[in-house]
Every structure is written in C-alpha cells, then in structure tokens.
C-alpha cells in the first residue's frame, strides 16, 4: 500500500463542525460555555419543579429516547472510525484505484445534505438489505460520518513526520506493518480530540434519524408534542437536554486535548 506522507510539522488537528471548543487561552469562550451550560441546567431543573405540567411530564418520557440516542451515536462512531481509518489511508494511497475509490466516496458524501443521505441510505438499506431499523440507522450514519472520519485520519496521518515511515521501512517493515505499528498509534493520539468532536456532531445529527424510524430522544419529544399539541414546551425541553449533553461532552474533549498537549 503506497503512502504519500508530506513533510509537515506536528500539528493539532481541529476538524470541528458545530461545537466551539473552549480553550484556556480564550477566557471569553470559556465564559460563554459556562453561561450556556449553567442556563441549560438551571432551566432543566427549575422548570419541571415550578410547573410539573407540562415540563415534568415531558421530561419523564425522555430516558428511553436518550438511551437510543446514545446507542445509535456510540455504535455509529465506532463503525465510522473503522471506515475512516481505511478511507484516510485510501486517500493517501499511491494506488490509483484505491485512491480514487476513497476520494470519490468522500466527495460524494460531502456534497449531499446529511438529511437527504440518511433518507436515501435508510430506505436503500431497508429495501435491498432488509435491515432492521436500528442497524439501518447506525449504518447510514456511519457511512456518512466515515467520510468525515476519513478526512480526520488523512490529516492525522499527514501530520506524522515522514521520517517515522522511513525509519520503519529502513528496518525492513512492510508499509502495512509500519502503518499499523508506527504511524496509526501516533495518529490516534493526535486525532482523539477531533474524534471527540465528530462524536458530538454525530450525537446531534442522530436526531435526523428519528425522522425515518427510531424512537430516539427527539422522537420522544415529537411524540409528546403530537399528542398534546404542546410543541413549544416539548421542543424547548428536548433542546435543553441536547444542549447539556453536547456542552458537557465538548468540555470533556477540551479537557482531553489539554491532557494530550501536556504530555507532548
């Protein structure tokens, strides 16, 4: 497997979409994070206490949906990471066929709105593979996010100094062995925060899946609303829950990033 690894300095890969990572060097960002997080938590606690109907009634319908949301997200991110490793390596391959396969896949996925992809893949998977709702949902999310993860891995592999591959090859390792034992372990370390960001983005985008089939967090809110016609309050509560999750996770990613920097 041929690899084109550019001579580049070791960099911190930041492929974010959506969540802004708070950094210590940017106190205003950290403040905005704290304000948003506090606001969301306070509202989530106070509203159900002050007005149990409807807020408490809405909230109690959520746990089953939250579980599904996380199941979809975790399963999809694992699959997407596996796809991403191969796509990232494929995009750097000198073999034309593999290279084109990977790059065309990424181009196609990036050019189609996620909601449209999910509709298409979900119905395609259901129709031709007769998959159940859950695996179909996970697979369609993973195929979409595999392209983005591929970009993350490509950037991560390119950030490893060329000399690492040369040192490994000079010792008689094959390119595959060098990738597996030398390049990828170093890549994973530097792209961990980027994977964390993809996880957060995927968590949010998993709400799109509910449109087609799954009774996830967002579906629970819609179900409640469609019965009570209380759309505003249902969507308010579900927004707050998503916000608490994503803000908490983004803090976790920022913490992880900080730890990794310290180790360097």
């Amino acid at each position: 497997m041929g690899l084109e690894i550019d001579r580049e300095p070791r960099v911190n890969i930041q492929v974010t979409d959506g969540v802004l990572l708070p950094e210590k060097s940017q106190p205003t960002l950290f403040n905005s994070w704290a304000i948003a997080f506090t606001l969301a938590v306070v509202l989530l606690v106070v509203l159900p206490i002050v007005r149990p109907d409807p807020y408490w009634n809405i909230l109690v319908t959520f746990p089953a949906g939250i579980l599904v949301t996380f199941q979809v997200t975790v399963s999809a991110i694992i699959l997407a990471t596996l796809i991403g490793i191969f796509v990232g390596i494929g995009q750097l391959s000198k073999r034309t066929f593999i290279n084109r396969l990977a790059t065309v896949y990424v181009e196609i996925i990036r050019g189609i709105p996620l909601l449209v992809q999910i509709f298409f893949l979900y119905f395609a998977l259901g129709r031709f593979l007769r998959l159940q709702d859950f695996p179909a949902a996970v697979l369609s999310m993973a195929i979409c996010y595999g392209a983005y993860m591929g970009e993350v891995f490509r950037a991560g592999i390119q950030a490893i100094p060329r000399g690492q591959m040369e040192a490994a090859l000079s010792q008689g390792l094959s390119r595959g062995q060098a990738l597996r034992l030398i390049i990828l372990p170093q890549t994973v370390k530097i792209i961990l925060p980027a994977i964390g960001n993809e996880f957060i983005a995927l968590l949010k985008d998993s709400s799109l899946v509910s449109v087609v089939a799954l009774t996830d967090l967002f579906r629970q809110a819609r179900n409640y609303a469609s019965v009570t016609f209380n759309y505003f309050d249902a969507y308010l509560m579900v927004s707050l829950v998503y916000l608490v999750f994503t803000l908490f996770l983004s803090r976790l990613v920022a913490f992880m990033e900080e730890k990794l920097k310290q180790h360097d």
């Binding site: 100094p161 040369e166 040192a167 090859l169 000079s170 010792q171 008689g172 390792l173 094959s174 370390k189």
Partner: protein, 245 residues
C-alpha cells in the same frame, strides 16, 4: 580483491529537473568505513538513501551483496533488514519506550522472541552506555542519548551495513562526542559503515576512504590523509577551507 558489499553504477537521479546524482559510481567493501563529504545539495544524502531504496534512481543500478536493489522483483524488505540506517533527526518512535524502539523490528521482521529481543536490547544499551534508560520514553532523552538509542535500534537487526545520514548535525556541540565515540567503537569492531558527515576529526580517526561530492558527482576520493591534507581538485580544496575554518 574482495567483492564489494555495495556497488553503485551510473546512478542518476533528479528532483524537479535538478540533478541530485549524475552518473555516480561507487563501491563499498566489507569492513570499510566510507566517509562522504560535500556541500549541502551535493547529493550525498540522496546517494546514501538509494542504497536501501528510500530513493529510487532514474537510471543506473545499485547492488547489495550481488542483488539488484532497484529491481521491483527484489524483496526490498529482505535487503533493508540487513542495512541499518541512522538519521539526522533520530526518528525514534515517540509512542514506544526505548526497549520497544529497539526490539520492535527484530520481533516483527525477524520473528525473534520477545525474551531474546530484550536480552539483545540490554546488551546494546550497555554498549551505548545507556543501560538505565531501557524503560525511558524517547522524549525524556537528550539529543545525544536519542541518537545513541537510534544506533542501538539499527544494531538490533544485526545489519551488515550501517548508513549514517548526518548523525551529529542536529546535536548540540557537547553531545557530538558521545555519539562519535559509539560510532568509533563500531568502526573498530569492523562494522561496514557509510557516513555522510562533516566531522573531520572522526573521519581522520576512523575512515578508510573519503569521497568528496559536489553537484551530484564524486569529485575526488582517497584516504583521509589525501583528501584533507593534499586535495587534488580545487573544488575539494575550496570546500575544505570553508568547513575547516
């Protein structure tokens, strides 16, 4: 005369129309310490890197132990495992401890058992005077220590030839000696070495032959005494004046 271990014939290579090598012929004999000097961009590193095919030639050939290195049918990995390489920037594996840096290739490539590889690594660390660094991470080592570990890593494969690509150029002056001492030990043990370096003191002490390269050509070759004290070519003379003063 004995058969050369490495034979380079009519080697040509250019990068973006710049000639890195123009028709270079060179043999390296078993037990020989060959020194390659020359200004930067003279093609000396490129020449070194063609020997284990980290660079392909545009034309010409490289033979290692009678095997055509540039032939795509050649099992290049089998050749590379017999040729150790030490780089200017060390290129230790930062995610592995010193022990694993040294044992990885023997275990993966030569299928040596973990226990055997560890014993060998301990011996090598004694040899480079760093026995207590066996569990250290590369980032905890000084530049000179890193380069000595890199030499141990290369030696762990029990190579028949060692290539040194400016091994002391990235080091602080006070660390150069500890690396050169290790290299000197190897030279005395009869290791075949090809060294790209400007360490003239080391060349005088250990080299059997010095070649001077300029603009992709071997301009002059001879014993250290000949090259350093009685250079025949004005380009050699001019370069040495720059380096020595």
């Amino acid at each position: 005369m004995t058969e050369p271990l490495v034979r380079i014939e009519q080697a040509r290579k250019s990068f973006n129309k710049v000639h890195a090598l123009r028709s270079v012929n060179l043999s390296i004999y078993p037990g020989e310490v060959l020194f390659i000097i020359g200004p930067s961009g003279s093609g000396k590193s490129t020449l070194l890197r063609t020997i284990n095919r980290l660079e392909m030639l545009d034309s010409g050939s490289v033979w290692f132990d009678g095997i055509d290195v540039m032939d795509h049918k050649t099992d290049i990995r089998h050749i590379r495992e017999q040729i150790g390489m030490v780089f200017q920037a060390f290129h230790l594996y930062p995610h592995l401890r010193v022990l694993d840096n040294i044992t990885l290739a023997p275990r993966v490539v030569k299928k040596v058992t973990a226990e055997q590889a560890r014993l060998k690594a301990q011996q090598l660390l004694e040899k480079i005077h760093l026995p207590d660094k066996i569990h250290a991470w590369p980032e905890q080592l000084s530049g000179g220590q890193k380069q000595r570990v890199a030499i141990a890593r290369a030696l762990a494969m029990e190579p028949r030839l060692l290539l040194f690509d400016e091994p002391t150029s990235a080091l602080d002056p006070e660390m150069v000696k500890e690396v050169l001492d290790v290299m000197l030990d190897l030279a005395r043990e009869g290791m075949t070495m090809a060294v790209v370096s400007h360490e003239m003191g080391f060349a005088k002490a250990a080299a059997h032959r010095v070649i001077f390269m300029d603009e992709g050509e071997i301009v002059e070759e001879g014993s250290p005494d000949q090259i350093f004290n009685r250079p025949q070519n004005p380009r050699t003379e001019k370069f040495l004046q720059h380096v020595l003063h």
